[in-house]
């Protein structure tokens, strides 16, 4: 028994402990619900092959959570290096999608039904969309790193302007690309949902970069103490700029995925409120929004946790309009449990208990 407690104590200090506990809690809620409903208890974990594609609640979570997970990668770097958040990612997603569709269809054209109607190869449009998102990141980064504007204020510009620029590009209309070759990004690749594959690829690329270069150390060093980093020869302006560019590029990728899902450029709705999910994912992952040390795995788990909560809500039969209320309650619980105040309280309790024991031992 004692060894179990010791083990728990040790494990609970690991950085990924709380994010994983949150996932576990969501899972348990699902299990209990299924048990009460008289369903197969592990309904949640079940997946099957239907018409050559995987189906199941867990697959759905991995699929639907892709955009948030991709955004969470860039957001983690931005938060760590600049102690601020990029609130423009959702709008930049939409802008990337709009530019891509506009280039493919041509300005003012609203429907593309044949390959022959395309103005340029699909991959050129996709790359242009991602590139423009990277440019938005560069602009944000310039304002934050060079002009020393607060990140939230700097990124507020594209938060508001991004969608409007998208509407300008699409001439205020929805632009549809009814082509399988375009739908593939939001569709399926062999038996897997493509968004999941793209998210996995993005995570892998970032993981490799962090493993093989010293970017991670630079970013954390700049986030913790920019002055000391400068004295030690690190160009903190360049590092912060780079983080915003990376964040922009990943927003672009997420934007293409979201656009391809509905095979249309819907400026007003693509990526709506996703910046909040991305920021929340970083926080749920146990990363301080005050910058400094980061844990990428935590952010990714955080992103899928949010999606798991949402999916569970729908499975539980909560109406879409009311889901945010319950989501908010769960998020409050998770964030409060991780808060410094609660941690300090438990540390205090522990110290008191030990102190009390010592006194008891003496008498």
């Amino acid at each position: 028994m004692k060894s179990v407690i010791n083990w728990l104590k040790k494990v609970s200090k690991k950085p990924l402990f709380l994010p994983l506990v949150s996932v576990f809690l969501v899972l348990v809620i699902n299990l209990v619900y299924d048990a009460i409903q008289g369903n197969y208890v592990f309904e949640f974990l079940k997946f099957e092959l239907k018409e050559g594609a995987l189906y199941g609640r867990i697959i759905d979570i991995l699929n639907r959570g892709s955009e948030a997970a991709i955004l969470a990668i860039g957001m983690t770097l931005v938060v760590s290096s600049s102690a601020g958040t990029d609130i423009s990612v959702g709008s930049v997603m939409s802008l990337a999608g709009s530019l891509c569709c506009m280039l493919l269809a041509g300005f003012g054209v609203t429907h593309v039904r044949e390959l022959g109607e395309l103005q340029m190869p699909i991959f050129v449009g996709v790359i242009a969309g991602i590139a423009v998102a990277g440019l938005c990141g560069l602009f944000n980064g310039f304002l934050v790193a060079k002009m020393k504007i607060q990140p939230m204020v700097a990124t507020l510009i594209f938060f508001t302007a991004g969608r409007a620029i998208g509407l300008l590009l699409t001439n205020n209309k929805m632009v549809y690309i009814h082509l399988e070759q375009f739908k593939v990004f939001g569709g399926k690749l062999w038996i897997f949902p493509t968004p999941t594959v793209i998210a996995a690829a993005c995570i892998l690329v970032m993981a490799i970069i962090l493993k093989t270069t010293s970017l991670g150390m630079y970013v954390q060093s700049v986030g913790i103490n920019p002055k000391a980093s400068r004295i030690a020869g690190i160009n903190s302006v360049a590092i912060i700029l780079l983080c915003y560019v990376i964040c922009g590029l990943f927003s672009g990728v997420a934007g293409i995925v979201a656009t391809s899902r509905i095979y249309s450029a819907d400026s007003n709705n693509i990526g709506l409120n996703l910046e909040l999910d991305a920021i929340l994912a970083v926080a749920l992952g146990g990363n301080s929004l005050g910058g400094g040390r980061f844990n990428l795995a935590g952010s990714i788990i955080g992103a899928y946790t949010i999606q798991a909560i949402t999916t569970t809500m729908y499975a539980l039969g909560v109406a879409k309009a009311q889901a945010p209320v319950y989501k908010a309650i769960i998020v409050i619980l998770i964030v409060v449990v991780q808060s410094p105040a609660v941690k300090a309280y438990f540390a205090h309790r522990k110290a008191q208990k030990e102190g009390g024991l010592a006194v008891a031992g003496r008498s």
């Binding site: 093989t212 010293s214 150390m217 913790i224 103490n225 030690a232 020869g233």
Partner: protein
């Protein structure tokens, strides 16, 4: 009225983890005097002030106030204010976007009978107060429209109007020009004549002699003495601040070390940084340890930072190994084989949330560039080597550096630079706030480095330490390099140059 004791602190003791900040310090303030509290950095001046104002909770000692010597103990600055002790800091703690009158009465606004603020009464009282203290401002203007000096005077006015008996001015003149300082002094004298006791903390010797009546000197958390200004000429004050007693460490520098190579490594001509350091020339030979000395704020750190590019030099030329170079940022200096250990370890030295290994590797990695990550095995090898070499006490290589003691943190930063194998190292106060054993280790290390043909700029507030390690001393005063001493290095000769013209 004068000469009546209004504040008496007796036997104040205070320890911070690992450091005895104050031991048995007495302090006496009389009404109607300006009392300078002097001491080198880390002597305990601000700790003593904080004990008085309730910021620090001291362990032992008593504080008495007023003519009836009522014992008090403050737990917050608010409580101190109620007891008649007001403090004005170097940085004005007021609201810049509110009007002068609002700032004067914030938190204690005169009210109308409906409980709203009586603006008319507030303005009138503010005008009266400004007139009484001879401060020429429009009280309806926002505070930020006035110079720092005026803002400071307004802060003092606020303190005085709250019927403070004791006014503490903590480095109020640091950001003022001569003219503004004179205005401030005029006000201080006027307040003194009204019977207020003023504690004046400053680094500027000139100002002490211009305005103060009495001086209390602290060193290393201990009281050196209380003096009438006429009994303590400048040279004696400097001696009292720095301490003349040599500790029993013998000289670690042998005679043959004095021979320095002719090869010039650094040749600076007319480098300067506006407001920080006036144009200076300096050449440093290979294998030489050159000391920069002067009181704090004399520009000794600034001179070094100017060479290193931490503050980019705005004029002048710099030759490294005979080649003219331009240093725009620290990384440029590092590529030329330089390193800087900054004086403020917490603000510019350690990256506290990174591990010991990451902190040691930081400079080496930034020289290698972001793409070429130094392999983990090599990182571990280097880290372990320096942990052994410098005897860094850490549980593991992955311990966060903030969990180490100050001395070990300092060693980590020294290791960071030694790892880059520099030709030229600037050590700014490397021994401040560390225990005697580590101090000697660091001093030996400096001499060793010079033996290996590396050049070192060594900056320290302790003259003995400099005399033990340096071949040559450059002396700075008020942001200007005023002289160099190569022969006849003794406490006496150095202090004479630091203190400048003898007065009184």
């Amino acid at each position: 009225m004068s000469n009546e004791v209004i504040l008496s602190m007796r036997g104040i003791c205070m320890t911070f983890p690992g450091v005895k900040a104050l031991s048995n310090v007495d302090f006496t303030l009389r009404s109607g005097e300006i009392h300078a509290l002097m001491g080198e950095n880390g002597a305990g001046k601000s700790t003593l002030i904080k004990c008085l104002t309730g910021v620090n909770d001291f362990e032992k000692g008593e504080i008495f106030m007023g003519p009836e010597m009522r014992p008090i103990r403050n737990h917050s600055t608010l409580e101190a204010q109620k007891n008649g002790i007001a403090t004005v800091y170097q940085e004005v703690n007021l609201c810049p976007n509110l009007s002068v009158a609002e700032n004067l009465f914030i938190g204690r606004e005169p009210l109308t009978k409906f409980g709203t603020i009586n603006h008319k009464a507030m303005l009138n009282r503010a005008r009266e107060l400004m007139k009484k203290l001879d401060i020429q401002v429009d009280v309806t203007q926002a505070l930020e429209n006035y110079s720092i000096a005026l803002q400071q005077m307004i802060a003092i006015a606020r303190a005085v109007d709250m019927e403070s008996k004791v006014l503490i001015l903590d480095e109020p003149t640091s950001s003022l020009d001569d003219n503004e300082v004179e205005k401030l002094f005029k006000m201080m004298r006027a307040l003194r004549d009204e019977g207020i006791g003023i504690i004046f903390v400053t680094h500027f010797l000139e100002q002490v002699y211009a305005v103060c009546d009495r001086i209390t000197v602290l060193r290393n958390g201990q009281l050196v003495g209380e003096y009438e200004i006429s009994d303590l000429p400048r040279l004696k004050l400097v001696a009292a601040m720095m301490g003349k007693d040599f500790d029993d460490l013998q000289s670690i520098k042998s005679k043959e070390d004095e021979a320095v190579s002719e090869e010039v490594l650094i040749d600076a001509k007319g480098l300067s940084h506006v407001r920080k350091i006036k144009p200076f020339d300096l050449d440093i030979h290979k294998g030489e340890v050159i000391g920069l000395t002067g009181l704090l704020g004399s520009g000794r750190s600034e001179l070094a930072r100017c060479i290193y590019g931490a503050d980019k030099a705005q004029t002048g030329t710099l030759k490294v190994k005979g080649k003219e170079t331009k240093i725009n940022a620290p990384i440029d200096a590092m590529r030329l084989g330089m390193g800087l250990l900054p004086d403020d370890r917490k603000a510019e030295g350690i990256v506290e949330d990174l591990s010991v290994r990451e902190n040691i590797m930081l400079a080496m990695q930034s020289l290698a560039g972001v793409v070429k990550r130094i392999p983990m095995e090599k990182q571990m090898e280097i880290t372990k080597k320096f942990i052994d070499l410098l005897d860094i006490k850490t549980p593991s290589t992955e311990t966060l550096v903030k969990q180490l003691s100050g001395g070990n943190q300092q060693k980590v930063i020294i290791a960071r630079w030694l790892a880059t194998n520099p030709d030229f190292l600037i050590l700014d106060e490397p021994t401040r706030g560390i225990d005697v054993g580590t101090k000697t280790e660091i001093q030996k290390l400096v001499v060793d480095l010079a033996h290996q043909g590396k050049s070192v700029i060594f900056i320290s507030s302790e003259i003995e330490e400099m005399l033990r390690t340096c071949n040559r001393l450059a002396v700075l005063r008020d942001g200007e390099k005023v002289g160099e001493l190569t022969e006849d290095l003794s406490q006496e000769s150095v202090m004479k140059v630091i203190a400048g013209g003898e007065r009184s």
